[in-house]
Amino acid sequence: MGLRSIFGGDNLVTTKLDQAIGWARKYSLFPYPFVTACCGMEYMAVSSAHYDLDRFGAAFPRFSPRQADMLMCVGTISQKIAPILRRVYDQMCEPKYVVAFGVCTCTGGFYDDYSTVIGIDTIMPVDVYIPGCPPRPETVIQGLMLLQEKIQNQKHEY
Amino acid sequence: MPKITIDSTEIEVEKGTTVIQAAEQIGIDIPRYCYHPGLSIVGVCRICLVEIERMPKLQVACYTPVADGMVVHTNNEKVQQARRAVLEFLLINHPLDCPVCDQAGECWLQNFYMQHGLYDSKMVEDKVKKQKALPIGPNVMLDSERCILCTRCVRFCDEITETHELGIFNRGDHTELLPYPGQELDNKYSGNTIDICPVGALTDKDFRFRTRVWYLTETPSVCPGCSTGCNINVHHNDHRPYKAGGIRVSRLKPRYNPDVNQWWMCDEGRYGFTQVDADSRIVAPQKKTRGDWQLLSWQDAIDEIATKIKGILKKHGADAFGVILSPQMTNEGLFAAKRFFQETLEVENIDFEVVAREKGYADDFLMKADKNPNSEGAKKIGLSAVDNSGLEVAQMLADAKDNRLKALYICHHNLEKGFKKEEVKEALSKVDLVIFQGTNQNSTSNLANYCLPSASFVEKDGTFTNFAGRVQEIHKAVEPLGESKPDWTIFRNLSKRLGKSMPYFEAGDVFNALAEEVDAFKGLSYEKIGEHGVLLNGHRASTEKEMGALVA
């Protein structure tokens, strides 16, 4: 459905439209900061004046999953909160992006124990992994820029 | 019996006991380097100095015999100072090798420095250089710089093996341990010098840089190399399994047993564990289909074999069935086999002895010609053809050649060791059903129809009976490789499939059943066997010790 099927494939119009939509989407990300642990401190630092996330368009956290499009999973995910994280992810509308912030969300960190989820990619698909314990704000910004690149180069639906 | 006081504890000991032995009896560990209970006492290291009241200078605890009324202090200020001084002298020229030395983690210099030393070094000179990483024999690597000249290895070669290969040369700072010119440390017990060396001077070539010792776990067991059954500790790496390329057992070390092997073991047994993790291990039940091995699940293998056995028994009777058990199996495996073959299948042709054509090396110390750990056990359980009315192994093979034997169950043997290659091949090819149960592939298993994987000696609990009738326990150190199972488990499963179930859930159950049935084992149990084993009924401790001596 949509323009692509009308044109029977990709051509100049669809690629330019993809780029335009990509540009618009990447510069207006609405993060849902699912903050649990120490990485939350770096998230606060990255959102504040010194390492401003606002210049990337991702300043405004939306605390409702229905209004957000980027789920930033910040901090260790324990087994107890995993169903709730999944529920938040399910409640978001497409297109949605998941950022695994901090090594506990990427691979469990050094918490190889009975109560930690060993990487959130066991329960949901992840777009960008930002390792670090906690990652420096510059690393977070690099991760965000990688996500923006990914969004720009994606095929969007219309 | 003289009474002495050590560190305010009174103790009464036999006449002739030395102070260091008396202290051991009450749990006080006096540090020592040159003293070893199995070797002569020389008193060269001087670290066991203790203060004995009314003696003006400190005395060596290893050589001073106990006298009635003696008062000994092993830990006061004077003794501590003396120990620190001795350590300081020993460490003056000691190389900075800890990161590359195999002994790190079990090094007595490190341990005693942390317990008794803890002083600041004053050494600001260059260290004396000596030979490093010098192989002095097929198994031993020497590093003279690390040697503290305790002369344990020299005394071992002089007194125990009487081969006199090592000696101390030069004087003063340049004193060095070396083999005599033109000689190598190549006696059959050279590995023991590595055990007794307290530092990293003599190290094992085989174990060199394999793993750090703090990753190793120790499990007591018995060496399966020959019928002496030296007590050993199996050192296996549980913490870093991915590092050694699949080799789980790192080394074997002797364990003290006053009646069997004391503190020693031979080199053949020490390095004879390579088959445990070799590529030739059979890891799953296999069936030969059209010249190739096809892997089966245990369920399928047992079903097929049981059906075939039933068929052959029905068609040809129990006389066409031959069983060659092995004295490599544990008592439990042999007993379960006996139950299975004699009671469930009612087969009479059972034997275990395959006399090797080439005699193994034997001497009068620890090595015996019979390279099987459990011949005596097999005999006592009643599996020798001499005791049964069945065929012997040679007769079984002859029958097989004449087409009279239809099924052959072989355990662990490599028949080429006892018979000519062509004979074995001819015999086995004429048998309808050949089942091989063992740990490693060999020429006999290649001729079989079915191969069942058996667990090796480090992978199961069980007991061996040595040549003098001593039952000793082996313990499970690592998990069985792949799908392999202990022998008694395989026989129990087969028996269940063929109609008669045996209520054995662990090796202890089988041993208890064995103890009830066989006279020689009556009244024995794992608790009675303990750490050092126990003699079977009917065997007396022989007047000559079980362990011989290399006294000419």
Binding site: F34, E42, A45, A82, P83, Y111, D113, P134 | G117
Partner: protein, 624 residues
Amino acid sequence: MPRNIFKTLQQKFSDFILEAYTYRDDAIVVVDRNAIYDICKFLRDDSRMKFDLLMDLAGVDYLGRDPRFEVVYTLYSLKNNNRLRIKVPIDERNPQIQTVSTLWKIADWYEREVWDMYGIRFKGHPDLRRILMYDEFKGHPLRKDYPITKRQPLITAEYTNNSTITPTVELSNKAMDEYVSEEDGLKVKHMFLNMGPSHPAMHGVIKIILELDGERVVSADVGIGYLHRSFEKHSESIYYNGVFPYTDRLNYVSPLINNVGYALTVEKLLDIEVTERCKYIRIIMSEISRIADHLTCIGAMAMELGAMTAFIYFMQAREAMYQLIEEVTGARITISYVRVGGVKADLPERYEKRVGEQLKKVRAEIKQVHKLLTRNRIFVDRVQGVGVVSKEDAISFSFTGPLLRASGVDYDVRKQFPYSNYDKIDFEIPIGKNGDVYDRYLIRMEEMEQSCLIIEQAFEKMPKGAIMVDFEGQEIPAEKMADLGKFGQTKNLLHQVAVTDPTLLGSNKPYHDMVYAPDKRVSLPSKEKTYGSIEGLMNHFMLIMDGYGIRPPRGEAYFAVEGANGELGFYIVSDGTDKAHRVRCRPPCFAFVAGFGKMIEGAQVADIVPAFGSINMIAGELDR
């Protein structure tokens, strides 16, 4: 003092006191379990004993010993300023003991945790259910026979691909029909609102189930455990120095205070003293962390009330603190700076000047925010009179730190049990009157100022300069020194100085003895000794390698430091090996969250936000 306590107890309860002794200056009594309620009641009510604060209630598993478990009560008396530890051995076959939740309200939650982690039942407990683990979890994780990696996932990949997830709302045990009140002759049913784990206010994960009558809170049940990362189980599986990264992540806003607390407890067990300079360094770093913590707390609370400016200003000030911390330790938040017996490295050069500059910045920001908030009509209306906790309730819930001081009790661990040279420094403790959120805000603001003063005084009093020992003036790069040592060319090597990376300064000979305790069984030797002599190499080797390490003698110790939230206590049991047998962290905000339900009873929904902000709940510390 302990002798009097022992004498009184033995006179009154002679049959039930099994042992009474002191270890490392702690008074310890071992008591039979049948008398625990009476003994606790006596200790709390008696006018001479007056043990009114139940600091900690923990379980310990001594697998292989009969009786297997032990429940450890740590009591504190405000009037007499002393502590008492009561240990009760509990048999494995019948793991039960009488509850003390009727004596101290905080025992309710402590006992739930002991039940969750060890499986010891408390008779008479009003509501014994799991607190840190989820209900579907089987087993008791802190028991020694529960393997640390045995996972019981609540949600797996195949589950997530399939379906709808059923919500797990934990309600307390009252029947639904009871939630009814009458108003003007109408029966009104209460509403249950879930202020769920994913919280907009950046506090981390906690679930508050509110029972609402319109806008007013009738009761609240708080569910925690959403960040349980098994700190205590991990500490039992790694050597003593390896626990520091785990302690960083307890109260992750002020990690240096956790590090210092754990290090001091192990040093108490070992009975060693660190050097004077090291004590002052620890004070300076703790106070910098404390400032960072208070900045975060007030900033976040203000932001939730709508004052975003205060948040941004304080985040700028916190950046200044992070830069200071990064210069010393190399990392911003999770730093692992302290070691048993010292700190990792000495302070960098000319650090005092930079600290002075940054503190000026912080003071300027504090002044700004004072102007913005302290007399601001809107702010004061929202926080004054909200979340009031009376003095008796605060003591019964064993509040400590700013919340206890807001309710009018003068208790600060730095003054009552001075550690690490705090007694040589002159500072004040602000005390509040009303116990509401406004008081706590003012106390925190004032504490930041006091911390700045402490830092300045510590710099003045600190012994300066390096200890030059045997220094012949030649400097060699450390790698070259190691090579020379390896080849046996140790001539005069001990007299040189190894030039290492500036961040490793503390391990270099001139500075090493200033920051490491002089005990060789605990402190790593300096680089010169390690590379230049076999004794130093062996010492270094044995302390680092697996299986040897630091070996405190068998025993136990409890030590508390003043965290940003209150009394942060560590209780460590050592069995003589290089790994601890039990490490228990007494988290200060556990008490606050336990009392939170009571705090907001009768308040409006809008009051929950500032009340919760004033608690400064840090999930890492609460759930460990």
